[in-house]
Amino acid sequence: MTRTLAILLRNPLSALGVLLITLVVLAAVFADVIAPFPDHRGAVVDFANFNKAPGWPYLFGTDLVGRDLFSRILYAYRISLFLGVVVLAVAVPVGVTIGLAAGYLGGWTESILMRVTDVFLSIPPLVLAMSIMGLLEPTLFNGMLAVTAMWWPWYTRLVYNLARGEREEGYVLAAEVIGSSRLHIMFREILPNCVPAILTKMTLDLGFVILIASSLSFLGLGVQPPTPDLGSMVAEGAKYLPDSWWLTVFPGLAILVAVFGFNLLGDALREILGVDE
């Protein structure tokens, strides 16, 4: 772990990734302390200071009801990260289990599971999430549900391909010969060999979940106001371009910074752990 970190910090790009992620996570965790206007995350209106350009004390300017954009972005990170973690916490175990089962057990199990997975993979990811979000109520919970629904098949596919390869490996055959249970072989023998690939994908995906979630809220299918959300901030601000550019540019950059960080980190991990694309 320490060694991995040391390697990460040696390369300037991955060090940048570590730095950005640290900043984003700190911003989210300590938003209450850092934010100059913590109450602006909610339903506060201050029409005396609305639509102010970046300056002091409003670093990134204010929105159309006078809330500090900088504070709101910090809180939006909190929601984004929370959403990312929850989505992966649900999608990864589901996807991995199905992938392991399909890849290791083979036969009919494999055919049925992988066809179902194919169905999910055949709807462009955003479209699937949009349909679910559009048809249900746009709430944070449904948002997580929708993104999770589109996410697990990718883990199924990843683990399926790995497990299918491992199925023929000596250590699996050996375990079968000594009569280990299928569950034991799947989770104790094959799974550990897939961990580096899963871990790398998860790092990259944390970024992409944030990206997709922001896309959903950009289309008006995400978290509802007054909860701060990067995607809806961009969508809302885009109406006031080019005059009030800060309303769009800062939340947009905030998405970019977080996703960029996770990508740099994921890329570096991929190289260190020797995972194929």
């Binding site: 949009m130 679910i132 961009v234 371009l241």
Partner: protein, 341 residues
């Protein structure tokens, strides 16, 4: 039967099964949601009697599997119902809006390939140099922002502050181009109107580029990774030992074999653009199927949602089939294995 034909038929068969699965999935989601489709369809001032009549007509009082049966029967006749958003048959809407989206996605896909692949090749050939570093940062940046952020940024820079490109639409009002294919680039050329073609192209540039950016990044990244791996292969060294020119080695020895793994992912990216088009069309007021999709999703226009998702999924599958065929053409191993089975 040639091996490629066999492959196409096999993939078409699988795709059909998958498409039926997609239709079941989306149909079920559309039917189990809260809200009465008949009430939504009839609008604010309809009477309960009118709603009941429509419910009967739409078979909404039947059990779900039976409803699905009716849906399939209608679908077989090319009838997807009427959209309440436009008050027109969904098939007519799709026929009208699909070309605009395809035109956008095809140009974006072309950009992805024509910009992404060369960047990746460049990066791999000069790996660990500053060129490589720059390309890597650019490509990671490309995938790190959703296309709507790129759309907004590009629009801000190149349509507002530096008004080089138009901000919205497919073509300026002053051109009256008869619609033949629905693809403006084709129609303008067919009409022999070069100025209109240029105008339509200038409308396409920003949205297509915004849509392509993440694909470009992804393509460059993958091409680089796969080429770096290929460059480590013995046959590259062998080719060098024969003194083949580096350009030829890059093209025939490093690029083409490394294209095989890249192509699968590029195909997925290309297909993902169909989804991301939702974001870009919204920003650039692009009258395409994706913008229609957003509008109908926001309005709970069930027929239109089901129709749009089905068509986009079908496109997605078609793209994947095309990619599979391309891979088979490039990779003799797959082509030949098809022959033997």
């Amino acid at each position: 039967m040639s091996s490629v034909t066999r492959l196409i038929l096999k993939r078409l068969g699988i795709s059909l099964i998958v498409l039926i699965g997609v239709s079941m999935l989306i149909f079920t989601i559309a039917r189990i949601i809260p809200g009465d489709p008949a009430r939504i369809a009839l609008g604010p001032s309809a009477s309960p009697e009118q709603v009941e009549v429509l419910r009967e007509k739409l078979h909404l009082n039947e059990p779900l599997p039976l409803q699905y049966g009716y849906f399939l029967a209608d679908l077989a006749r090319g009838d997807l119902g009427v959209s309440l958003y436009t008050n027109r048959p969904v098939t007519a809407d799709i026929a009208q809006f699909l070309p605009a989206t395809l035109e956008l996605v095809l140009l974006a896909g072309t950009m992805m390939i024509l910009i992404g692949l060369p960047l990746g090749i460049l990066s791999a050939r000069y790996r660990n140099s500053w060129i490589d570093g720059t390309v890597r940062v650019i490509s990671i940046l490309g995938v790190s922002a959703p296309s709507f952020v790129w759309a907004v940024i590009l629009m801000l820079l190149f349509a507002y502050f530096l008004p080089l490109f138009p901000v919205a639409g497919r073509i300026s009002d002053s051109y009256a181009i008869p619609s033949v294919t629905g693809f403006l680039l084709v129609d303008t050329l067919a009409a022999g109107n070069i100025a209109a073609f240029a105008n339509a192209l200038s409308h396409l540039v920003l949205p297509a580029f915004a849509l392509a950016l993440s694909g470009i990044g992804q393509a460059a990244r993958l091409t680089r990774a796969n080429m770096v791996e290929t460059y480590g292969r013995p046959y590259i060294e062998m080719a060098r030992s024969y003194g083949f020119p580096e350009r030829k080695i890059a093209r025939r020895y490093a690029f083409r074999p490394s294209l095989i793994p890249s192509l699968t992912i590029i195909g997925l990216d290309f297909a993902a653009m169909l989804g991301n088009a939702f974001l870009v069309e919204a920003v650039f007021a692009w009258p395409g199927l994706s913008r229609y999709g957003v509008a109908v999703i926001l309005r709970k226009d069930l027929n239109a949602i089901v129709g749009t998702v089905l068509v986009i999924s079908a496109m997605f599958l078609i793209v994947n089939i095309i990619v599979d065929i391309l891979i088979a053409i490039i990779n003799p191993r797959i082509r030949l294995s098809q022959r033997s089975t």
